[in-house]
């Protein structure tokens, strides 16, 4: 298809109006651009990987073709230019270089920009696109052609020639090609023709050697070879014929369509293929079938068919069989695309259902009707299954987030003159899509910090006996109801002294405070905290890590920092699998209901007046000989009513610390549909949300981390106050 292809498509009404199809195209293009970016990053590490080049080419090809069909002409035109360059790479005419990868990544960003503009004809990005194309042309014209082939320059005038793929139904062709015997002397390499054919689709190539004679009798400059090629393609028969157009007259060339296997699933047998090819007659086949040997052997033994013909027919049989199997596998693994808003709505409805089901169970338990109890239990079971299945649909592999960090590491390390590899582990770990969406920014901040402050420059690394290439490892894995994400770098580690000094200078800690390493490192999570002496455009303003903490807190997660000078830093984020429905522990305090996230709860123990007396007013409880501190939630929430004689301590683990929380009574496990608090209540300390109980009562979800922090702050203030009081005395 030539430069008029776009117009032709429009005339044939193949270009759809903006609407649902456009949004599908935009979604698919976004996925293809991610695929393109990922493949480019991988290609940089493996420049000889032809599969990767194929992936890149296909991604661009699809964006270009679909873009033209959906009226994104600018996208199609621009992508065509880049695709042309990669076609040269694919055909071995241009080699992969860092410059090519850089330019193609920049081109990918320009395509993204154009798609974000929704294909509008605005010219905001025109300069950027011109720059990319100019760099590409310069590169293509300067790159020496690989041996034996000339690299034609990318066309300077994009209007000169434009190829838009004309896609047909997928067909399989049997191509039998015997080139003229003097093809070598004409300066044509048959291999390049074969490679052009195979580039059209999936192929099986069999070289036929039966015309090669004895060495002493052979004219070495003549071609004695012929080929059988089985090609499955969507490009149509004309695309195949075009390849042979210059030598068709002097060659023996036949291109036949192979009928697809029948619906009953039967593949053509070897004899049938040979008859169809004209290598064997039906009579000869019937005669040979009388004996007991394998048909291939019998045919070769009888001299009716050459070994090459049998091998070629078997290759065809295998090609079609494997293609059919792949197709069946693809069909059976079919997926449907659903808008995420619909999933969110479904999850909300499940939340409502869980609440109603709790109400039903409670009402039924008060009626003492065995038949109703039976039904309620069945509804409860089905609701739980429905909840789990729905939550599973929203689960996405975290690898979708990981892949974009490769680009980040590559670009930033190049900008800073550092050499850094990003390793990822556990990309298949799944967590809720909402969590994944909110996780991107915190991870970007942490990785930027690692690149800017953590990993040293190559010369400094070499001087300290390290590999000149730094490494950041991003790993994810499940731990109970949580996902643990670990970001480890092998850089210089955190400067404990500098952090402590800065913390003291800013009044965050007393200058003589005894702090564990963990507590010192946690200072970097404070707002505006930075020990960097200079600001870079990457980090150093101290706005990053507190943003990380806020984001992780909003996800109900925790951050732990470990570091060793000269060895590196490890940041561990522990996040809940989902933000929609959690298992909670329902408790009551003075007639009000509260929820503990069950994943944080370790055990519950009784607390009596005698226990309180034993601890002499200190908030400590003796659990199996070990003293555990506790926070009295009545005190925290300012409840003045008289406490019951026996209370419960809910012992929880928050960031490696065991802490008890005193409540009046523990009611039991509760499926908690998380409802966010309204604007007025959302800043109340110690509460992270609410849920509705079966009888319609509201229970508040406790934010244990915040309660501990508030308690610590209040104790520090009290100690300070006492200190001032003593000094005055």
């Amino acid at each position: 298809m030539d430069g008029h292809a776009f117009g032709a498509l429009k005339e044939r009404n193949l270009v759809t109006t903006p609407g649902i199809n456009t949004s599908i195209f935009l979604e698919e293009a976004a996925e293809l651009l991610n695929e393109l970016e990922q493949a480019l990053m991988e290609l940089e590490g493996n420049p000889g990987d032809t599969d990767l080049v194929g992936r890149i080419f296909r991604a661009m090809h699809t964006i270009k073709g679909s873009g033209a069909m959906f009226g994104f002409d600018k996208v199609a035109e621009f992508t065509h230019e880049i695709e042309t360059a990669f076609d040269l790479v694919r055909n071995g005419k241009v080699s992969v270089s860092k410059e090519l990868i850089d330019i193609t990544l920049a081109a990918r960003d320009q395509i993204r920009l154009m798609l974000d503009e929704n294909g509008s004809e605005q010219s905001d990005g025109d300069n950027g696109r011109r720059e990319v194309l100019s760099s590409l042309r310069t590169l293509m014209n300067s790159v020496p052609a690989s041996k034996g082939a000339d690299a034609p320059p990318v066309q300077a005038n994009s209007e000169e020639k434009r190829v838009v793929p004309e896609l047909h139904e997928e067909e399989s062709f049997r191509i039998r090609f015997r080139p003229p015997h003097d093809i070598f002397m004409r300066g044509i390499d048959p291999l390049s023709l074969i490679r052009e054919v195979t580039a059209l689709g999936t192929s099986t190539v069999v070289a036929r050697t039966e015309r090669i004679g004895w060495l002493d009798e052979m004219d070495p400059e003549h071609c004695h070879l012929s080929w059988d090629i089985i090609l499955t393609t969507q490009k149509g028969i004309n695309a195949v014929k075009d390849i042979f157009i210059f030598i068709e007259e002097d060659s023996a060339l036949s291109i036949e369509t192979i009928d697809p296997p029948s619906e009953e699933g039967g593949f053509r047998k070897l004899g049938e293929i040979l008859i169809e090819r004209g290598d064997l007659s039906n009579e000869q086949l019937q005669e040979i079938l009388q004996s007991n040997k394998k048909i291939g052997e019998k045919l070769v033994d009888s001299g009716l068919v050459s070994g090459d013909s049998v091998a070629s027919a078997l290759a065809e049989q295998e090609h079609i069989r494997s293609l059919q199997e792949k197709k069946s596998a693809k069909e059976s693994a079919a997926t449907i695309r659903v808008a995420s808003e619909k999933l969110d709505l479904l999850v909300n409805l499940i939340g409502e259902l869980v609440t109603v089901q709790a109400h039903l169970s409670q009402t039924v338990s008060e009626r003492h009707d065995p038949a109703l109890v039976c039904i309620a239990e069945e509804v409860e079971r089905l609701t739980a299954e429905l909840r789990d299945n729905t939550m599973n649909i929203r689960m996405m592999p975290i690898g979708t987030t990981f892949s974009k960090f490769k680009r980040l590491v590559r670009d930033l390390s190049a900008e800073l003159g550092k050499e850094i590899d990003l390793l990822t582990e556990g990309a298949e770990t799944e967590l809720d899509k909402t969590v994944i969406e909110k996780l991107g920014d915190p991870l970007v901040h942490i990785i930027r910090n690692s690149i800017d402050h953590g990993i040293e420059r190559p010369d400094a690394r070499t001087a300290s006996g390290k590999n000149r290439r730094g490494c950041i490892t991003l790993s994810a894995g499940h731990a109970g109801a949580h996902v643990v994400i670990r970001i480890a770098d092998d850089g210089a580690g955190l400067n404990k002294k500098a952090i402590r000094a800065k913390g003291s200078e800013r009044g965050l800690i007393a200058s003589d405070a005894e702090l564990s390493d963990e507590e010192i490192y946690a200072l970097i999570l404070q707002p505006g905290f930075s020990t960097a002496k200079t600001l870079t455009n990457i980090s150093g303003r101290g706005v990053g890590m507190d943003v990380v903490k806020q984001a992780v807190d909003a996800l109900r997660g925790t951050i732990n920092i470990a570091s060793r000078a000269g060895t590196g830093t490890v940041m561990t984020l522990t996040l809940p699998l989902t933000l929609a429905i959690i298992d909670g522990l329902l408790v009551s305090i003075a007639g009000d209901y509260f929820i503990f996230p069950l994943s944080a709860v370790e055990e519950c123990v009784e607390l009596t007046d005698d226990d309180r007396a034993e601890s002499h007013g200190r908030h400590l409880v003796n659990i199996r000989g070990s003293l555990t501190p506790y926070i009295d939630l009545r005190e925290q929430f300012g409840v003045c009513e008289e406490r019951p004689p026996i209370q419960q301590v809910v012992v929880s683990r928050i960031e490696r610390m065991r802490m008890g929380f005193v409540v009046d009574s523990v009611i039991g496990q509760h499926q908690t549909v998380i409802k966010s608090l309204g604007a007025i209540h959302k800043n109340i300390m110690g509460l992270s949300g609410a849920t509705i109980l079966g009888d319609g009562t509201v229970a508040l979800i406790l934010d244990l981390q915040r309660i501990i922090e508030a308690e610590e702050a209040s104790e520090s203030a009290m100690i300070e106050h006492r200190g001032v009081g003593m000094a005055l005395c």
Partner: protein, 116 residues
Amino acid sequence: MEGTLEMHGETGMVMLRGNLTVQHAAVLKNLLMRGLESSSRVVLSFEHVEEVDLSCMQLICAAHRTAVRMQKSVYLSGNVPEIFRQAIQDSGFKRHVGCSFDAGNSCAWMGMHSAL
């Protein structure tokens, strides 16, 4: 192309360098014939080959079947450069069974199969 034939007992080592293209096909043919005439076992070394076309492939085929007829053998040595492997794969020489001239599964392309 540069080619030498070195004799190691009954084995003739054909060492090839540079471009194995149709321009040098006649030289390669002569080298292979000399190898087959002077030894019972010819080993072809492509380690330092930089470019290859199909004229070379068909010569290896011819040398192999001629060797079988002479009750001799032709082998490719282990270190085959990537460009050669790719050419074998793309041109459809790679195969599981030898041609009708093959004896004792000595086909050079079958040997390449596991390496490809």
